[in-house]
């Protein structure tokens, strides 16, 4: 069921040097998603550094998580330098596109079809930013676990050839860090996303 050989990603895996932005709204599982990638990187022997939102800003507001894998000092990703933006909400995708570098990858949870603003779409084309939209919310709802939309989007992301990380390693991390009562739901959502079912 492997669609493409992963690992032939943005960078050779032996020197995985990646900056990710994960964005969403409080309650969407942004921090869990971050943990999936940071734990995977650690397992592979890489240094990880990231930053997340707590306190007043956590109550229903936008949640942005920064994750840098490789040799870094600061946990913050600067505008125009991120390799990947993973957005669990279309509005948050618009807000965090500013982080993407030229040639970066944008993965968004959103309704099917081409719903991008024309100006923004032109900006992405001009800067060789590849945008992929996947209806993770609908998919998660269909399989009966609406709270696993984050995992469906991660699964989808792992089917995109340019995505850093290896499918099997990410899946193994999800299996390892999910509390047992959500295990089946999370893995089903991840696998459904990976198969790009909708």
């Amino acid at each position: 069921m492997r669609l493409v050989q992963r690992g032939a990603s943005l960078k050779p895996k032996s020197e995985l040097d990646t900056k990710l932005i994960l964005a969403g709204v409080g309650g969407q599982g942004v921090l869990f998603a971050t943990k999936v990638f940071s734990e995977t990187a650690l397992t592979l022997g890489h240094d990880v550094l990231g930053s997340e939102t707590h306190g007043m800003s956590q109550r229903g507001g936008s949640v942005i998580s920064h994750l840098k894998i490789g040799s870094y000092e600061s946990p913050l990703v600067r505008h125009a330098t991120a390799d990947v933006v993973l957005a669990f909400d279309q509005h948050e995708a618009y807000r965090t596109l500013v982080f993407l570098r030229r040639g970066g990858l944008c993965l968004v949870n959103g309704p099917d079809g081409d719903s991008w603003d024309r100006g923004v779409k032109a900006y992405m084309a001009e800067n060789a930013i590849a945008a992929h939209v996947y209806p993770a919310d609908d998919v998660a709802l269909e399989i009966g676990s609406p709270r696993s939309a984050n995992l469906a989007l991660i699964g989808y992301a792992m089917s995109v050839p340019e995505m850093p990380f290896d499918h099997d390693q990410i899946r193994a991390t999800i299996e390892r860090i999910t509390p047992s009562r959500f295990q089946d739901a999370n893995l089903e959502a991840f696998d459904t996303g990976y198969r790009r079912q909708r």
Binding site: G45, S51, P75, Y94, R101, Y123
Partner: protein, 622 residues
Amino acid sequence: MSQSKQEVLLGNEAIARGIVEGGCHVVTSYPGTPSSEILPAVVRFKKELDLGTYVEWSINEKVAYEVALAASYTGKRAAVIMKQVGLNVAADPLMSSAYTGVRGGFVVISCDDPGPHSSQTEQDTRFYALFAKVPALDPSTPREAKEMVKAAFELSERHYLPVILRPTIRVSHARQNIEFIPVAKLQRPADFQKDPGRWAATPRFRFQLHKELNEKLHDIQEEFETSELNTSVPGDDRRLGFIAGGTSYAVLRDTLKELGLEGRFPILKIGTSHPLPQRLVKEFVAACEQVLVLEEPDAVVELQILDKSKLLGRLNGVVPSAGELSPEVIRQLLVQQADELGIEIPAEIDTGELSQLVGDLGLPVRRPRLCPGCMHRAAFFGMKRALGSKAIYPGDIGCYTLGLNLNAVDTCLDMGGAVTIASGLYQAYRQDNRDVPIAATIGDSTFLHSGVPALANAVYNGARFVLVILDNGTTAMTGMQPTADSGMLADGGQGQRVAIRDLVQACGVKFIEEMDPYRVQEFEALIKRARQHTRESDGGVAVVIAKRPCVLFDPSPLEENPVLVAISEDCDGCQYCLLAFECPALVLDEDLGRVVVDRRICVNCGVCVEACPKGCIVEAEE
């Protein structure tokens, strides 16, 4: 990377690990972003390693400081943890303990919040180090923060002084893989040695202690001149140098690398921001033509540098004087300097254009809001219905500051400020013989923190207002730390419960009523009765305890008794409920032209049935 045990830890957890690895015996704290996760992580390591560490959530920061300080008096290692504004509350013992000194290593961890993200000020803890004449260490990363905790204990024990560790939010809430090393087990039986000239010093002795403090500070400065806590990065282009510390140093290093300038300019990293190693700094500055000083949130290092003629920083307006030194701000500063030096910087995407485009989309602003089912919303709604918009609503610090969105919070000053501001407002209007309804709100933990003396004062001086204590059973905003009213201890054990109601009674309040604010109509009537009490000849302060557990802390009452609501087709989309009630689960469906329930986040509290004056929100048929 080495093969020892590693884990990705939050900066605050790394600090906790440093506390434990440093063999600390007593740890106290009052929660506050960005410091709240340190004590729970100490509890975690204490349990995992079966340590005898004493931990407590104290009633407030002053209390926390003094409990930990006393442990240091006995020769044990102790740490006290708080956020930067908490140190305002603990400033009194900080100043005095600098004079008396300490015995066992004593570390004050005070987390700063440049931005600010979750605080009422951007104040710089390091100013307190100058003010109190104690040393301050400034970590740049979680990993360094862990090492600095241990260095701080040793420094404190070498000089018998409290030592401040000052992480900023980007250290506290960063995540990094951290190596675990074995925990030091220090045998320190409690041994308080009487020395009244020190521990109970009168003003005459205090003068001697002040001279002693000055000598200690001098010795520490000498030590810092060669300390490994300060490091330098070489660079041949001496037209520009950098002096940086904390998060700003980390951001500077990454940004220089991204701009292709790594290794070009010399950098002096200051980890010991007070007392400043003056000779080290002077030599560095002498070797550069200009020096850009980068630190957060204020110019503490810059102010201490004696010769400022070559400096570029906050004091001459080169560096912005408010807000975070984000990577974007630091890049801007570097680009500007590079431009002046004629150095070309590789081009990046022009994100200005994108910001414009996204700005034009008019995306809804996601301001923080109370959660679906939050008892605060129900209480505020009932209060507003009872007293209207002419009443004045002093508020306080916690989730319920968000009553601001419901126009039910008019002031928010500091911890406990609701009660004192209500008292002061009453006295000011009373002087003009005017009776204005005043209804203050304060949370359970905040009331225990500093509301009790404020309430005693209000009663004593004859103030009259309604005080609603929003008792959701936990310290919700900072992550569900237990309160004294719950009786639960920091490590999960059971302590002696201190009941809020008893404290209110002991303050001399005559009107005390308790009610679940979900019963909106009855709650509204209760607020009216409370208001009436403030106007009666023998009336006074009326206290209403609005009691119901936080929905995140304890969802079980909702699960036992769910109320499914529906919006009838009569809804005309007037949006009254969205503005006056602001539940995230009620949303306007623009296609339908009416409000709908977002079932994904609705918790079936049923309170919104009261929120539609036209009766369009109804209990759904099963």
